[in-house]
Each structure stands twice: as structure tokens, then as C-alpha cells.
């Protein structure tokens, strides 16, 4: 094999109160996919942000295709050929999706004018070439893009001319299985083209499937660098977590006859004639492709979006829910999929973000003691193993997965009658996932009704008592746990007849 296209030697980086990376070294060769795994907060994103010039390293050396780029600026890193598909897409809200892809390096006419037409044309070509046809309206404003769509923009940004090494930071987190498959095809294509590829994911089966080598991080320290054929998922988990983990999760049915949520003939801008029930102690999984309308359904139930018809009953009585405030008053909780835009107050502290939904519950005549907040939510922060230097830390400075856990902690602490979870374990590591499943299970045992929107088959199959599949704003008949199979779900999602 030729010489390494990316060569990292003994990189270290610290933040106030956190040693994010110490003495990490790795090589990537052309046409190789190197998986990069570790628990939430292990330092994966930090490592990649250093490579792309976002953060500056405290110690160590980085060489890209022979030239040293240890202290490159974002621009220099780009031009050198390193591209990062960020875990948190950075989108410019008031310009088109196409323009979002070209910020910083626009195509120009001879006159020097920005060539908008060319921009749209190239974008369309790239969408075709990389198999994203029809997923993205290239004229849509950045702010209207879904997490999935935002990710596609990030990917296209990275794949523009001159790319030598491209790193994907949890690319599949906001994609459905179908989308993920497309992405893998893309990655294989890039590997053929001789690019170096770094692939960060918490979905180990994906890692096994796509990568040639795997580098494992634990608390910022490198604990392994193995050829994929010489290892197993279990080995990797051990290196990541340092202990054995029960694989998967299975829960026993606890639902009682009491109906908590009853939706009848609900229709909206996105939906037509939707009816279903969720009973106390029951977990109903919602499957579907991006654009199927699951998130919208959640937002309609939660009063964020308008419903144009139908009734919603909570515990038997009809509720008119016009705003999230109404929904919460009706004892509904909603953990959104898009944590950055809709979930978190990034500039505020972990403790504030985690207790927001219980402020009124904790207050005595409007007075709210910090001690009360800590008392209420810190158990969940501990159980979820949220990695933060202090409860005062700004949420924006936590790792992606830990941010996700903060959103969950907020609603687990609130324990409403009906809890709607949209992609609850997105970007969360294996260890924490198991813990989250346990907590959700506990809540259902306490009699909560849980509506779980997820694009992760294993999660849906292992957690749901029934699974409802959504397609084009309509829902399928619920599939009972016993006859729920991946194939059945995919067929319903795609609208293809089961064989």
C-alpha cells in the first residue's frame, strides 16, 4: 500500500476542566475507511475539528499528503484537501440550500460575479452523482431544511473539488436506514476514487460493515487500532467502555387497558385521516422514511403545528391543544429530534436546560431554588452519564451525544402522562443507549404512554410493543411486537407489497 495520506502524531487538546485528547496518533491510507469510535465525550469530534482547523491542537503533529498542516486555518485545511462532515451541521438560515454548499468558494463568471445558475447546476449534478435525487429542494432556505437535509448539505460541501480526506462525524444519526444505505454506497464509491475516509459512528454494525480499520478512543486516550477482520463488535465495545455490555435490550410488555392517547381522523398540512391509540405503559414505535411526516405528527400532537381536523383525547377527555404550553398542561412531553434548533438553549447551563420543563412544578409561588433544580434532575444526569465538567457548563460546549442526553433528562425528569420521543438515541453511544432504554422502560412501567419516533430498526424492534409505519402523511395498521420484522416495516415504509 502507498504512503499514508493522513498522518497524525501524538495529538493532545484540553478545554477548561476537560482533557479532551491526549497523545492520539493515527494514519489513513488512500482508499481506506478508518472507523473512529468511542463513548460520548471520548474526543472524536474534537479530534476531527482539530484536523479541519476549527480548534488548534495543544501538542502533536498533523501531516496531510506529505505537507504539515498542524496549525492550519479552516481555509488552509480545506485547500489542503481535508473535509469534515460535521456532527452538528452548520447551516446559514436565510440563503438557499445550493448557496449553503458553496459559501466561501463560489463559482464565478469571467466578470467576477457570483454565478448563481452554475451553483444550482453543479448542486443538481452532485445530488445525482451521489444518489440524493429528490431529497433536497436546492432553492429552499437553509432554515427550512430538516436535519437529514442539513446533513446532505454538509456532505456536498465536503465533496467539492480538491478533497483528499473526508471525515464523517456520525453521518447516519439523522438519516433513516434507507438514506444510510445510500450513504454507504457513496462511501464505497469514494473509497474506490482513492480518498482517505474517517468514519465516526456509534452504530457498530455499520462500523463492521463499512470500515477497513477501527481506531478506539476512551476518555481522549487511544485504546485500540485494529484491522476490522481481526476484531468483533464485542471487542470494540470492551475497548470503548472497558467493561462487558449486555447486547441489545429486551423488555417485557407492561401495557394496561387504560388508553392515554387517542387520536381520531387527525389531518393537517402534512397528514390525512390519522387514527391510533397508545395505552398506559405502552411504547408505540413510529417508523418511516425522512419526509414521511413523523416529526410533523409529533409537532401537531404537541400543538406546535396546526391540525386541520380530527380530535385528540388524553385519558379519555378531548383536549384542544393550540400551543406546546397547552400540550404540557395536558400532561404531554416532547423531546424533539433537532436538539440544536429545537431542544437546547446552547448558551445556558446543563442544569437549566435539564430542568426547563419542570420549572413550574418545582416552583413555590413562582420562586425557584437552584437547589431544588439540582435535586430533581441530577439523578437523571448521573444515570445518563452526562459528561460535563460542571452543572454550570454551557450545553453548547458538551459533546453531541451528551447534548442529546440533556434533552432526554429534561423529559425523563418531567415524567408526563404521554411522552413523545423523536429519535431519542440519536448520536448516543452503545453504553448510554442501554441505559436510556432502561430509563424509558422504567417510565413505561410507571404507566406512561410513550410514542417513540425512530429510524433505528433494532431500537424500534426491541423497544416497541406495537410499531406504526408512516408514509406520505398516512399510517399503517399497527404491527404487533410478535410479527414485527425489519422486512415488514421497510415494505410498508416504501409502499412495496410484502412478498
Amino acid at each position: 500500500m502507498s504512503s499514508a495520506i493522513l498522518d497524525v502524531q501524538g495529538v493532545g487538546k484540553s478545554f477548561p476542566g476537560v482533557k479532551a485528547l491526549s497523545n492520539v496518533s493515527m494514519k489513513v491510507f488512500p482508499g481506506e475507511v478508518v472507523a473512529f469510535v468511542g463513548e460520548n465525550g471520548a474526543g472524536k469530534s474534537t479530534f476531527l475539528k482539530i484536523l479541519c482547523g476549527d480548534y488548534t491542537l495543544d501538542e502533536g503533529k498533523v501531516a496531510l499528503d506529505g505537507t504539515e498542516v498542524s496549525h492550519a486555518s479552516p481555509l488552509e485545511a480545506r485547500n489542503a484537501g481535508f473535509r469534515l462532515v460535521r456532527q452538528e451541521p452548520e447551516i446559514v438560515p436565510h440563503i438557499s440550500a445550493a448557496e449553503n454548499i458553496f459559501i466561501g468558494e463560489y463559482p464565478r463568471r469571467a466578470s467576477g460575479r457570483v454565478d448563481h445558475a452554475k451553483m444550482r447546476q453543479i448542486t443538481t449534478e452532485m445530488l445525482e452523482r451521489y444518489g440524493f435525487v429528490g431529497v433536497l429542494d436546492i432553492d429552499a432556505l437553509g432554515r427550512t431544511l430538516s436535519p437529514a437535509q442539513q446533513h446532505i448539505v454538509e456532505i456536498l460541501r465536503a465533496l467539492k473539488d480538491g478533497v483528499k480526506v473526508v471525515a464523517f462525524d456520525e453521518p447516519t444519526a439523522s438519516l433513516t436506514t434507507e438514506e444510510a444505505d445510500r450513504l454507504f454506497a457513496l462511501i464505497r464509491q469514494l473509497r474506490k476514487e482513492g480518498l482517505g475516509i474517517i468514519y465516526v459512528s456509534h452504530r457498530l454494525h455499520e462500523v463492521m460493515e463499512i470500515s477497513d480499520r477501527v481506531v478506539v478512543l476512551k476518555d481522549g486516550v487511544q485504546t485500540g487500532d485494529l484491522r476490522i477482520e481481526e476484531t468483533t463488535e464485542q471487542d470494540i465495545v470492551n475497548l470503548m467502555v472497558g467493561r462487558e455490555l449486555a447486547h441489545g435490550y429486551s423488555r417485557d410488555e407492561v401495557s394496561t387497558p387504560e388508553v392515554v392517547l387517542e387520536v381520531e381522523n387527525l389531518s393537517s398540512r402534512w397528514h390525512r385521516d390519522i387514527s391510533f391509540q397508545i395505552r398506559a405503559g405502552e411504547i408505540v414505535g413510529f417508523a418511516g422514511l425522512v419526509g414521511a411526516g413523523r416529526t410533523e405528527l409529533a409537532k401537531v400532537l404537541f400543538g406546535e403545528f396546526e391540525k386541520s381536523g380530527g380530535t385528540v383525547k388524553i385519558c379519555g377527555e378531548v383536549k384542544t391543544i393550540r400551543s406546546p404550553a397547552d400540550a404540557i398542561a395536558a400532561n404531554i412531553g416532547f423531546a424533539p429530534e433537532n436538539r440544536k434548533a429545537e431542544g437546547l438553549i446552547l448558551v445556558r447551563s446543563v442544569i437549566e436546560n435539564a430542568s426547563m420543563a419542570v420549572y413550574s412544578a418545582l416552583a413555590r409561588m413562582g420562586v425557584l431554588r437552584t437547589s431544588a433544580m439540582i435535586e430533581k434532575v441530577s439523578p437523571f444526569i448521573q444515570k445518563l452519564e452526562i459528561k460535563t465538567p460542571s452543572l454550570e457548563q454551557e450545553v453548547g460546549k458538551l459533546s453531541g451525544g451528551n447534548q442529546q442526553k440533556v434533552v432526554l433528562a429534561r423529559w425523563l425528569a418531567a415524567a408526563p402522562r404521554l411522552l413523545i420521543l423523536d429519535e431519542p438515541t440519536r448520536a448516543v453511544d452503545v453504553g448510554a443507549k442501554a441505559e436510556i432504554y432502561r430509563l424509558i422502560d422504567d417510565l413505561s412501567k410507571q404507566g406512561l404512554a410513550i410514542m417513540m419516533i425512530s429510524s433505528e430498526m433494532p431500537e424500534l424492534l426491541s423497544m416497541s410493543d406495537r410499531i406504526i409505519v408512516m408514509r406520505d402523511g398516512q399510517i399503517s395498521e399497527p404491527i404487533e411486537k410478535q410479527d414485527a420484522t425489519e422486512e415488514a416495516i421497510v415494505n410498508l415504509a416504501l409502499g412495496t407489497k410484502a412478498a
Binding site: 493532545g12 484540553s14 478545554f15 477548561p16 476542566g17 476537560v18 482533557k19 476549527d54 480548534y55 495543544d58 452548520e90 447551516i91 446559514v92 438560515p93 404537541f302 406546535e304 400551543s323 406546546p324 404550553a325 400540550a327 404540557i328 398542561a329 416532547f334 424533539p336 434548533a341 429545537e342 431542544g343 437546547l344 438553549i345 446552547l346 448558551v347 445556558r348 447551563s349 437549566e352 426547563m356 420543563a357 420549572y359 413550574s360 416552583a363 413562582g366 420562586v367 425557584l368 431554588r369 437552584t370 465538567p389 460542571s390 454550570e392 457548563q393 454551557e394 453548547g396 460546549k397 429534561r410
Partner: protein, 358 residues
């Protein structure tokens, strides 16, 4: 989206580190004023030292009382403005509201002879005008800057229309005057504490409590930091805005009452013009973010004190206007720059500590 760049966001991180509850006396103090605001205190100390070496009158009890008295009007408005700016809004109409309140208060006192009545009338009109602002912003969905720039003009006009022939309304009621220039706890040795100043302190303490330890206050930080997330957490943004702008209006109204009390006349414009910029300066100097979600009463009050001390000092030293203007500019830049520099430094240290394994 993030409205600062990396540098800023990281430096801010240092605050939290320092503020994280490992409490020694100093730590607790730092914790209370907030690391960023330490720089205001440093700037204040430097400035006081400079002034005091130039004139022995600065530390005279009378002069200190003076500063207290002179900061009351801007201070009250800055308290309300802090709530508004933390909620990611802006209220440019405060000065005009104060103008209306000043006239209304004067008219009430002269025509009904009741000082309490005058005070409440002043605050009442303030609240009403604040609610008008909130309506324009929430119901008509006009961006806060345009909305309050509009009412900044409209309310000013109203103030003149209320005042007979748009002329200042004289009021000689001694009780009202007491509010503006009276003192409490006066002894022959001690000049006493100005009523206006005590009023400001009272308001500021309450506001600090509200912002730090009530659902209302916390919700202001949430909605300022990310309105969408706040709404999805069950916060009613519209109701919040009504409350916030009403408070800002009420305090502007009270400030207007003080102007009437101090100048023994209801002033439609003079005395309340340019208050908006003064207050906004104080709030941002006190550490608030343009994007909202950050800012403290303590910071804003320190900033008001800094500005009041500066102008008092320069008057004591008889510095010519033109130089006063320049000096004020320099002070503002200096105060913030010190803060940024300190935060950048302490953030480096924090990182080093972490690297060394804490």
C-alpha cells in the same frame, strides 16, 4: 444560530469555570458579580483612583451621595432594559415613555394634589405604553427594534401633546421634591442616603432575585437563548413579552417620575432624551449578549455606577465637554477590553490545568 464566534464562546466558558461552586470568600464574590463583571470593578477602581488623586472632594460623603442620586434615573431604566435585552428584545422607547410619565405625573400632582397618585399615574402610563410595545411586537409581529423605534417617536409626540402647549409643567410640591432630592438617615455628621438611590437599590435587588430565582426570570433567559426551544418547553412567549415590556415600561415610568421630582417640572423631552442609549450601553457593558440569553442585573448596575462615577468625576475636575465625550468612549472600550483579555487568559489557564490532569 451561534451569533458569536468560537473565540468568544470559549472565553465565556471561563466564567463558568470560575463561577463553578468551589466556594472560597473570593470565589463566592466572583460568583456573585460574575467573572466578566470583575473587569468593570477593576475599571471602576482605576478610575476612582485617578479622580481621587486630582480632587479631595470626590470622597466627600456629599459627593458620593450625589453619584448615587444621579444614577437613579438611568439605573431604573437599565434594570428594565436588562430584562428586555436578555429576552433577545430591545426597547428604544424607554426615554419617550419616561417623558410621558414625567408629564402625566406632573399634571396629576398639580391638578389632584396627590403625590402618591402622581407616582402611580406615572408608572401606570409606563405600563400601558409598555403593553402597547408588546402588542406591536407579538400581535402585529413587528421586529422589536422597528417597533420600539416607532414608539420612541410616537410616545415622544404623545408626551408633548399631553403637556399643555407642549411646554414643561412646573410642580412645586415638596413631597414630590423629597422623592427626587430628599435624604434618609440624615445626621449632622452624615449627609444621609438619597431617597432616589435607595429606590434604585430596592428595585435592583428585587430584579436580581427575580432574574436568578423565579420561574419568570429563568424563562426570560430561556426564551432569549432559543425562543423555539423555550416554546417547546412550554414557555408562552407572547405572555412573557407582555410581562417583560410592561416591567420595562413601569420602570421607565418611575424614572420619568424621578425626573419630574428632581427638576420640579414635568419634562416631555428634556431630561429623558438619549436615556435609551445610556441604558442600552449599561446593559451591554454589564455583559449582555446581542443575541439574548445572557446578562445580569449586577452587571448592568455596575455599568451604571461606572458611567455615573465617570461623569461625576469629570464634572468635579471640570474637564471640557469635548474631552468628556472622548473619555467616555475610551472608558467603555477599556472596560470591555479588560474583561475580554482576562477571560481569554483565565480560559488558557483552565485548559492548562486540565491538560496537567487538574
Amino acid at each position: 444560530m451561534p451569533t458569536e464566534d468560537k473565540k468568544l464562546s470559549i472565553t465565556e466558558n471561563a466564567t463558568l469555570q470560575i463561577a463553578s461552586p468551589k466556594s472560597s470568600a473570593l470565589k463566592r464574590f466572583t460568583n456573585f458579580v460574575g467573572a466578566e463583571n470583575l473587569s468593570l470593578i477593576i475599571a471602576l477602581i482605576i478610575m476612582v483612583a485617578l479622580i481621587a488623586t486630582q480632587t479631595e472632594f470626590f470622597f466627600s460623603a456629599r459627593n458620593l451621595m450625589n453619584i448615587g442620586q444621579n444614577m437613579a434615573v438611568v439605573g431604573l431604566i437599565a434594570v428594565g432594559m436588562t430584562l428586555v435585552i436578555v429576552s433577545a428584545g430591545l426597547d428604544i422607547s424607554v426615554g419617550s415613555i419616561a417623558g410621558c410619565a414625567s408629564v402625566v405625573c406632573a399634571l396629576t400632582v398639580t391638578q389632584m394634589g396627590t403625590v402618591t397618585g402622581g407616582v402611580f399615574a406615572g408608572m401606570g402610563i409606563g405600563i400601558i405604553l409598555g403593553l402597547i410595545n408588546a402588542t406591536i411586537i407579538s400581535i402585529l409581529r413587528v421586529n422589536p427594534v422597528v417597533a420600539t423605534l416607532a414608539t420612541f417617536s410616537a410616545f415622544r409626540g404623545v408626551a408633548f401633546l399631553i403637556a399643555p402647549d407642549g411646554r414643561p409643567v412646573g410642580v412645586l410640591d415638596p413631597n414630590l421634591a423629597w422623592l427626587g432630592s430628599g435624604r434618609l438617615f440624615q445626621t449632622e455628621s452624615f449627609p444621609g442616603l438619597p431617597v432616589a438611590f435607595l429606590l434604585l437599590v430596592l428595585v435592583a435587588v428585587v430584579a436580581h432575585f427575580v432574574m436568578t430565582s423565579t420561574v419568570f426570570g429563568r424563562s426570560i433567559y430561556s426564551m432569549g437563548g432559543n425562543p423555539v426551544a423555550a416554546r417547546l418547553a412550554g414557555i408562552n412567549l407572547t405572555r412573557m413579552r407582555y410581562a417583560i415590556y410592561a416591567v420595562s415600561g413601569a420602570l421607565s415610568g418611575l424614572a420619568g417620575v424621578l425626573v419630574t421630582a428632581r427638576t420640579s417640572s414635568g419634562q416631555p423631552a428634556s431630561g429623558t432624551q438619549g436615556l435609551e442609549l445610556e441604558a442600552i450601553t449599561a446593559v451591554f457593558l454589564g455583559g449582555a449578549l446581542m443575541a439574548g440569553g445572557k446578562g445580569t442585573i449586577v452587571g448592568s448596575m455596575l455599568a451604571v455606577l461606572l458611567l455615573a462615577t465617570l461623569s461625576n468625576g469629570m464634572n468635579l475636575l471640570g474637564i471640557p465637554t469635548f474631552y468628556q465625550l472622548v473619555a467616555k468612549g475610551l472608558l467603555l472600550v477599556l472596560a470591555v477590553a479588560i474583561g475580554q483579555w482576562r477571560l481569554a487568559r483565565s480560559e488558557k489557564q483552565q485548559a492548562k490545568l486540565a491538560a496537567a490532569g487538574k
